[in-house]
């Protein structure tokens, strides 16, 4: 059944307002896009991170679905335990009829996913648990004060890769997590960007309903971390896709394809913007626009082009 905006406005939201996420943060939007994509009952596990700390300050909770936070690096293992428990309890007749189709979703930031939680994620994917893991990817340890993670792009100014007299910020390109997850040959993988809500929700629906592990990496522009205004996430999310810094990818049973604006660009129906269009409004890249850092922007553009060409090839396009 198609996802319609007019239906969505009448649904109960799984994550209530009134939480303490930063103004202008798209992560709660992403959470709602993911969870409202299907009507199945759901259980969520959350890695330690801003989403967890800001939505559940005891004695309050913003969550309208059963929700658990265990620790930083183990959201995947935790949801694996929950999914296994449901299987066991269903087998033993201890789960109510209307809960038997419960879906299991884990949320983690890029720190909890790319870095400290990678082993737990890999293990759960390999074992084939029936769950969706969503990485809300703000490209750094934003909750602890904007430190670099392996998802931080080249040139970003973070508190552990600060810009200084002899440094332009982070030196290394971001980790290609989509390809790492793809190497697990799970049934469904996608990247997404919240400005394209329909693309994100369609992917989430498939990911949740597929039988077996699914993974989504969703870019989440961060107001304090990226040093942007509270009304900017949507435009930056869009620029990330249109510059091919963040291609919209879908891998269904091993078959790669591009979606949304990324497909249009690959098909020649939309212009691929220079990476400056993504970098320019973000304070974390401000220093790159100084004369002495011109080469770094070229370095970033080369890196973006290299990955874009790789993803295009994987999706069946010739260079």
């Amino acid at each position: 059944m198609a996802i319609l905006l007019k239906d969505l406005v009448n649904k109960n939201v799984p994550l209530n307002g009134g939480h303490r996420m930063c103004p202008g943060c798209p992560t709660p939007v992403i959470v709602k896009q993911i969870l409202m994509s299907t009507d199945h009952p759901k259980v969520a596990a959350n890695a330690t991170g801003c989403l967890e700390v800001a939505t559940t300050i005891y004695p309050y909770t913003a969550w309208n679905i059963p929700w658990i936070h265990n620790a930083f690096e183990n959201a995947a293992a935790t949801i694996a335990g929950i999914e296994s428990a449901f299987r066991a309890l269903i087998k033993r007749g201890e789960i109510a009829e209307d809960r038997k189709q419960t879906k299991f979703i884990a949320f983690g930031g890029d720190g909890g996913t790319y870095d400290i939680g990678l082993q737990s994620l890999s293990g759960a994917l390999e074992r084939g648990h029936n769950f969706l893991y969503v990485c809300y990817d703000n490209e750094g340890y934003m909750n602890t004060g904007i430190q670099r993670s392996s998802a931080t792009p080249i040139g970003a100014n973070t508190t552990t890769t600060p810009v200084g007299k002899v440094s332009y910020g982070k030196k290394e390109p971001r980790k290609d997590l989509i390809s790492i997850v793809a190497a697990h040959h799970i049934p469904y993988i996608a990247s997404a960007a919240p400005h394209n809500w329909m693309d994100t929700m369609n992917k989430a629906k498939k990911a949740i309903e597929v039988n077996g592990p699914a993974f989504m990496d969703v870019i989440s522009p961060c107001v304090p971390g990226w040093k942007i205004r509270t009304d900017e996430w949507k435009g930056i999310s869009e620029a990330a896709v249109k510059t091919c810094f963040w291609p919209l990818i879908e891998i269904e049973n091993g078959e790669w394809r591009l979606t949304g604006e990324s497909k249009k660009i690959a098909d020649g129906k939309m212009e691929k913007l220079p990476v400056e269009e993504f970098l320019k409004s973000q304070g974390r890249f401000k220093h790159l626009f100084k004369l002495e850092n011109k080469d770094v922007i070229k370095l970033i553009q080369d890196d973006v082009d290299k990955s874009w060409n790789y993803y295009k090839r994987m999706a069946g396009y010739n260079d």
């Binding site: 335990g81 449901f86 737990s120 390999e126």
Partner: protein, 392 residues
């Protein structure tokens, strides 16, 4: 049918008990010397003798993480580990207890690295003594088997709702064959009963588990954990009594051996107490009035029980199979602390023994008896500690 003894290793005794418990979920990782528990249990799964959902996780950290998730969903969830595996799951061991999840975890006690050593001592679980888990230590294979059922009942008791570690000594117990008398499945089933605790993630109303708990509530929640531990011993006593009725084997919080008229006693936990009993029998033949005291639980600490029992003796030798570097070892320290306000107290001597699986031999324990005789007569060596049998 009359109950029969069957030969089982300590690890197999644990697996056999787990088979009869037939938990909803088992998440475990192989680590020496715990591995045979998981291997044996996996056979039960493969042969359909249990219908447990088994999660063969990629690490001990994930073993405890998945067990927490499963228990939060309302499953009877179990795991097992040893030494470095326990150390790796450390962070989540605390979370399991503070989330008040009634998990039963088999522990095969083994020395912590480094240097790496796969043999038995208590450095792993003694390090975890402040994690908020109940700890029960098993002397032999029969106790291992029996403790699993009692542990499950203690953990799931509504006044308690705390996780339990069922400890046995690495190799000495886990890999040694003894005759064990298993109970018929029906007896176990009746004893453990249906789980009563509620699955938080399967509750009617959505439930948030593991929220951020700051200065305004954390302190009160810790007090609740503190109070829960205080309720454990009455529950243990009731369960031990019921166990004796159903299984025909009687256990106390503290086991006393030939202490009726004893002047001196040796106190310790787990497998060494088998050897201690041998030594005591031989010493008794020679007319030495020596006995043994074996606390079965280390958490909660049975201080009140020990105070009552030990104040009867002139001297107590306390065997610790772990050290607390820069201090005195844990069983000794906590026992000594019990007597702070007492006017009647025994002379005490601490022995650190058997680290890294070193044999604590009859000969070494005979020396302890001699030491204690001297201590009781002269007071010499009171409140000192030594490495028993170490090469200098």
């Amino acid at each position: 049918m009359a109950a029969k003894y069957i030969p089982l290793t300590g690890a197999e005794s644990a697996a056999y008990a787990m088979k009869q418990i037939n938990p909803d979920v088992l998440a475990a990782y192989p680590i020496t010397p715990q591995t045979p528990i998981v291997m044996k249990f996996s056979e039960y799964v493969a042969n359909g003798e249990v219908d447990t959902v088994s999660i063969t996780v990629e690490s001990e950290h994930s073993a405890m993480s998945a067990t927490v998730g499963a228990a939060a969903a309302g499953a009877r969830a179990m795991t097992a580990t040893a030494a470095n595996g326990l150390a790796l799951m450390w962070e989540i061991v605390y979370i399991a207890a503070s989330t008040r999840l009634p998990i039963v975890m088999g522990i095969v006690n083994r020395a912590l690295s480094g240097p790496i050593n796969i043999h038995g001592d208590h450095s792993d679980t003694m390090g975890a003594r402040d994690a908020g888990w109940i700890q029960v230590y098993s002397e032999n294979n029969q106790e291992v088997y029996d403790n699993y059922f009692m542990a499950l009942r203690i953990a799931e008791n509504e006044d308690v709702l705390l996780p339990v570690m069922v400890c046995q000594d690495g190799f000495i117990t886990s890999h040694s064959v003894e005759n064990v008398m298993p109970a018929p499945d029906q007896v176990v089933k009746e004893f453990i009963g249906k789980k009563k605790f509620k699955g938080l993630l399967t509750a009617e109303k959505p439930f948030t588990i593991g929220p951020l708990d700051l200065q305004d509530y954390y302190f009160e929640h810790k007090k609740q954990q503190h109070e829960a531990m205080k309720k454990v011993f009455p529950v243990i006593e009731a369960i031990q009594k019921e166990f004796a009725e159903k299984f025909g084997r009687k256990y106390d919080v503290i086991e006393e051996y030939r202490t009726e008229d004893a002047d001196i006693v040796i106190m310790g936990m787990s497998s060494v107490m088998g050897t201690v009993k041998e030594v005591i029998d031989a010493a008794r033949e020679k007319g030495i009035k020596v006995g043994a005291v074996k606390p079965r639980f280390f958490r909660p600490f049975p201080g009140e029980y020990l105070k009552k029992i030990l104040s009867k003796f002139k001297a107590v030798g306390i065997l610790d199979r772990s050290d607390s570097f820069g201090s005195l070892p844990p069983l000794f320290t906590e026992t000594a602390a019990v007597f702070y306000t007492s006017s009647t107290k025994p002379l005490v001597k601490s022995y650190i023994h058997g680290l890294g699986g070193r044999d604590t031999t009859v000969k070494l324990l005979e020396k302890v008896v001699t030491d204690l005789q001297k201590l009781s007569e002269t007071g010499e060596g009171n409140f000192t500690s030594e490495y028993l049998g170490v090469r200098e």
